[in-house]
């Protein structure tokens, strides 16, 4: 009995710790609940970079990260998935169109000179001067008040630029941004000092256009182009709606299960209900500590695991009732109920954990969230449904005979009749002694 009382206080301590965690730590909510965007970018090979190596991915990730950070949104995620993909998560963004254009743009700045194609027609040919030779760019206006993008080259860039302009006096030099011709001024004299300007051609730049270009140039070009292969955007209204509804569904589901257990299993049902509430508290505290990002699928996994947690108790109580009908005394019936149900509970939970592990390894991020919450739920339920309920059952019922079978939802004439109890010596030794 002493052990039981110590265990009881251990359970109380765990519950108090869980409640403290729940009230002090924030819940991490997924994008489908708070609203926001998830993008998957895939790196594409180019003529110069024929293979996406880990090194290329690192550079791509770095460039994308610096762009995402420029969006000024908290808690963004840029993470590599697979060999050539990047996962980007931007919470709380309502209008994604701009952000997407900003992230996906290669931002390749190139200076080109006049040349001739094989058939003699004029084309622009590369000069070797690119965005990589820049030290920074600034938004400014020219004499006539038009928005222009001012460029400052680094040391190597300045020298290249000077040499080029010297060689190309009297000719046009074209500035391409992401393959698009921006302007093609005629060079009047060699330019020293490493400064240049991009004007928007005849029509000039709009403020937004020029600003975006400056931001992109400063964030750095992507080493390879990347295209968006998957996109998920959830508006904040839908997210808020989902949270409210899942919470309602959870509360309704939990209450219905609690009432069901009370009606069917009476006092043990009440104990299972308390265990279920303890289960929810521990699991929720675990979610916050690890932390697990809660998504819609994750909440579904959580609610499903409530059903599974109760299953263990149903197994045990059905078994206990059966043993009581077979004429065993209360203490033996409770113990053998737990003992005999254990293999079923263990085996069935193991198969669930196996499925969850496979889902977690192979699934997409939505599926992963579901698998993780379900697996954690199953593991916590082994503690709450077995250790916690067993402890409470012993503390409440002690070792005496069952005077009021109604406490178990049984009729008096059901007990000890109709079954022929075959108790072996080993069983007596196993179930009959208070540990």
């Amino acid at each position: 009995m002493k052990n039981k009382i110590i265990m009881f206080w251990v359970i109380v301590a765990i519950v108090i710790a869980s409640v403290v965690v729940i009230f002090t730590k924030p819940t991490k909510l997924g994008l489908d609940l708070v609203g926001g965007s998830r993008l998957i970018l895939e790196a594409e090979t180019t003529e110069s970079i024929a293979k996406i190596t880990p090194e290329v991915m690192q550079r791509l990730q770095f460039a994308i990260e610096s762009r995402v950070n420029k969006l000024g949104v908290a808690e963004t995620v840029v993470q590599q998935v697979g060999d050539k993909r990047l996962l980007i998560e931007i919470p709380n963004v309502t209008d994604l169109k701009e952000a997407k254009a900003f992230i996906g743009e290669t931002a390749q700045l190139e200076f080109k000179k006049e040349g001739k194609a094989a058939d003699g027609s004029p084309i622009w040919v590369s000069t070797g001067l690119t965005g990589q030779d820049l030290s920074k760019s600034i938004l400014s206006t020219d004499q006539s008040g038009q928005w222009v993008v001012s460029l400052e080259f680094n040391a190597a860039g300045s020298k290249k630029f000077a040499d080029l302009t010297k060689a190309l006096v009297g000719q046009q030099m074209a500035i391409f941004f992401d393959g698009e011709l921006q302007s093609a001024p005629v060079i009047r004299e060699a330019i020293y000092g490493g400064k240049a300007q991009i004007s928007g051609g005849d029509s000039g730049f709009a403020y937004d256009e020029a600003e975006r270009m400056v931001n992109l140039l400063n964030a750095g070009a992507l080493p390879v182009p990347a295209k968006i292969v998957e996109e998920n955007t959830v508006g904040p209204t839908l997210g808020a709606d989902s949270i409210a509804k899942s919470r309602n569904a959870g509360i309704i589901g939990l209450s219905a299960v609690i009432i069901f257990m009370l009606i069917f299993y009476r006092v043990p049902g009440l104990i299972a209900d308390i265990a279920l509430i303890i289960y929810s508290l521990i699991l929720f505290a675990l979610f916050k500590t690890i932390p697990v990002t809660l998504t819609l699928a994750g909440i579904a996994g959580f609610i499903l695991s409530i059903g599974m947690a109760v299953d263990a108790n149903i197994l045990i109580f059905e078994r206990t009732k059966e043993e009581l009908r077979a004429g065993r005394n209360l203490f033996t019936a409770i113990n053998s109920g737990f003992d005999r149900a254990f293999t079923s509970i263990f085996d069935s939970n193991m198969t669930t954990i196996i499925t969850c592990a496979i889902l977690y390894m192979l699934g997409t991020s939505i599926v992963k969230g579901f698998a993780l919450t379900l697996a954690l739920g199953v593991m916590v339920s082994m503690f709450s449904a077995i250790t916690v309920t067993k402890n409470f059952m012993h503390l409440i019922f002690g070792t005496g005979e069952l005077k009021y079978p109604a406490l178990f939802g049984l009729r008096k004439d059901e007990i000890g009749k109709g079954y022929e109890a075959t108790e072996t010596k080993r069983e007596k030794a196993r179930f009959g002694i208070l540990d």
Binding site: D32, E231, V234, D241, A249, L254, G307, V310, D347, T351
Partner: protein, 326 residues
């Protein structure tokens, strides 16, 4: 310990052929629908697959007013004018009446599925314009897009996940029980998976419901649950065999074991179904199909673990020990 006084509620062994016929009856319409779909659909899939697996874009608009099915045709015509071939439109009615506290102004959701929309495309803007003419302030509440190559990869990964899960379960059950039992449990879960897929194939044909990544998750959960249920029955057969193998025939033991675990099987399924029904009726619209798949799976899983799997175990045992004992 085995009940001899009380009448058995179910007779698995005696009415073996009834249960086989009932299973066939449950599975047949779905199998027919899947065959029909694979011949009928252009991609030869047995189920209507969503953008997660084919690639494409879904735009969802929230509306303050309630709209009906008459709006479907109207919107379809308007979208076809934009040059979208065969636009797939779905109207979801959000039931906000019982839930005043959600504050949401959205009463219906229109989802429009198109081909994969590139980032440069102006199509979303055009669609928004079209809808703005029809309704007040349609709000673009969600966009999901999956590139065509990624879709294929996801589909492949999902199939691998299911195959691995099944193998893992076979290995575990063969280790804990016997290979016979593992095989019966696996046939039971295939039974359940075919049923759920069949129903969704029918729903795809009738209501245009498409399967997505979450559907596979639901299937895997159903697999886990189905085996979970079956194990409880098998565990009892294993235990009873230890005590009564000499006194009773295998068939009697199977019948008794099923009856002993009957209350538990039904009560467990009920509690899980209660939580799922709460999710279905009070949860968000977006997970509704996912929850429906699980409700179907858990209901059929309970049936199969009680009748189908235990019947199979007994059937095999009979075949092995001819002539039949029962």
């Amino acid at each position: 310990m085995i009940n001899t006084d009380r009448k058995h509620l179910v007779h698995v062994v005696k009415y073996r052929w009834v249960w086989m016929a009932l299973s066939a009856l449950l599975l047949f319409p779905g199998i027919f629908a899947m065959l029909y779909s694979s011949l009928h659909y252009s991609n030869h899939a047995p189920l209507k697959v969503g953008i997660d697996y084919t690639g494409g874009t879904i735009l969802q608009y929230g509306l303050e007013q309630k709209i009906g099915n008459a709006d479907l045709t109207k919107n379809r015509q308007a979208l076809e004018k934009l040059g979208i071939e065969n636009p797939y439109i779905q109207i979801l009615n959000v039931n906000n009446t019982q839930q005043k506290n959600t504050k949401s102004q959205i009463n219906s959701i229109i989802s429009i599925r198109t081909k994969f929309i590139d980032k440069d495309s102006t199509l979303p803007k055009q669609i928004t314009e079209v809808l703005s003419k029809e309704y007040q302030n349609p709000e673009l509440i969600s966009v999901s897009s999956v590139g065509p190559t990624l879709g294929k990869e996801l589909f492949k990964n999902s199939l691998i996940a299911i195959a691995l899960a099944v193998l893992g379960i076979i290995a575990y059950l063969s280790f804990r029980f016997k290979f016979d039992y593992a095989l019966a449990a696996i046939l039971g879960l295939i039974h359940d998976v075919i049923f759920v897929c069949g129903v969704f194939s029918i729903l795809g044909l009738v209501y245009n419901i498409q399967i997505d990544g979450l559907f596979i998750t639901a299937l895997l959960t159903v697999i886990g649950f189905s085996v979970h249920d079956t194990i409880v029955v098998f565990d009892r057969i294993r235990e009873n065999l230890r005590y009564y193998a000499k006194k009773m025939t295998f068939g009697e033991i199977v019948d008794a074991s099923v009856n002993q675990t009957l209350a538990r099987s039904i009560n467990t399924s009920l509690t899980t179904l209660i939580t799922l029904l709460a999710l279905y009726f009070f949860g968000g619209v977006t997970t509704r199909d996912f929850v429906l798949a699980m409700i179907l799976g858990i209901a059929i899983g309970t049936y199969s673990s009680i009748f189908f799997c235990s019947m199979l175990v007994d059937f095999w045992n009979d075949k092995k020990n001819q002539p039949a004992v029962s």
